[in-house]
């Protein structure tokens, strides 16, 4: 049984190392499922069969299926793997990896400096877990249910696509168009200056800014012409 624990720990560590180094997101996800299954086996050998079942059902089942659907929705082509290879340069990851290794060695040193503690040696069955959950940790269960409800509402709110144009910039746009029709010959058109290669957020910001400048210029020139 000890061999099973150490073997599954090694599998979990190797699979997790593969997860954080893969370029293809779907391959990384499959390695992550392997890692979770190995951790589930570790739970089983540690005498927690209920948690082992939950790990398989919730982590390797539900959460990973959510990831799979998300990756399928992104519809990533082969050029995304090329992009990942560009991002994974050695100069980029060697620093954080060394720092993480130092932290890990400190942790291992602290854990191994004392003498070894053997476990209590009994299996904790789901009955005990359920009794503890619904007696001692009842408030925690309520809080977890509130958290899950909040995440449900939040995900449902974030799911819908917002329209590209908010009502406020559209009003400014129409006013700018009206102003520019008054004396369009003296006005350089502000929309031309927005370059096409920008992301939509920057594009919209700059458009609004230019239009507000444009209206300002328009009114200024209008007053000067009236004075003249």
């Amino acid at each position: 049984m000890n061999t099973v624990f150490y073997l599954s720990a090694a599998i979990a560590i190797i699979a997790t190392a593969m997860v954080i180094t893969r370029a293809n997101a779907m391959h990384a996800l499959l390695y992550l499922i392997v890692s979770f299954l190995a951790v589930s086996l570790m739970f089983f050998t540690l005498g927690a069969p209920f948690i082992a079942a939950l790990e398989v059902i919730v982590y390797a089942g539900a959460i990973m299926v959510l990831f799979v659907f998300a990756i399928m929705l992104f519809n990533l082509g082969p050029q995304s793997a090329l992009m990942e290879h560009q991002w994974l340069r050695t100069s980029g990851w060697i620093g954080p990896a060394i720092l993480s290794l130092i932290l890990l060695s400190e942790l291992v040193f602290e854990l191994t400096s004392g003498d070894l503690h053997a476990p209590a040696g009994n299996v904790i069955d789901p009955r005990q877990v359920g009794a503890a959950v619904f007696s001692t940790y009842l408030i925690g269960v309520e809080l977890a249910s509130i958290l899950l409800l909040a995440s449900l509402v939040g995900a449902n709110h974030l799911r819908r696509h917002k329209r590209v144009e908010d009502p406020l910039p559209r009003q400014q746009e129409t006013s700018a168009v009206q102003n520019s029709t008054k004396d369009w010959s003296s006005e350089e058109t502000p929309v031309v200056r927005t370059s096409a290669g920008k992301s939509p957020g920057e594009f919209q910001d700059e458009k609004v800014r230019n239009e507000s400048q444009g209206t300002k210029n328009n009114t200024g020139e209008g007053t000067t012409s009236r004075e003249l």
Binding site: T16, I20, S35, L46, L54, L66, F67, A70, A120, V129
Partner: protein, 102 residues
Amino acid sequence: MANIPIEHGLIAASILFVLGMAGILIRRNIIFTLMSIEIMLNAAGLAFVIAGARWGQPDGQVMFLFILSVAASEVSVGLALVLQLFHWYKTLDIDKASQMRG
């Protein structure tokens, strides 16, 4: 029921946690960042269960249940946000989302 010293299990959990942390630090793809967060949460739950097995108490497993619910809610909201991000910027580069706007 295996007779594993608590230190070995905690070392395995800390290796998994550090791997997840390194994944957050070295990857720019936001999907991989979310996966690394899952790895870290799972490693924390593993440490809880190991400590619970050391003392023979169910409290560690109860904490794992709470971590499980936190991970599930985090991944649902996180993936919805990533979908919105992908819809706006047409990329999964996390540096593109460095500016918040409203």
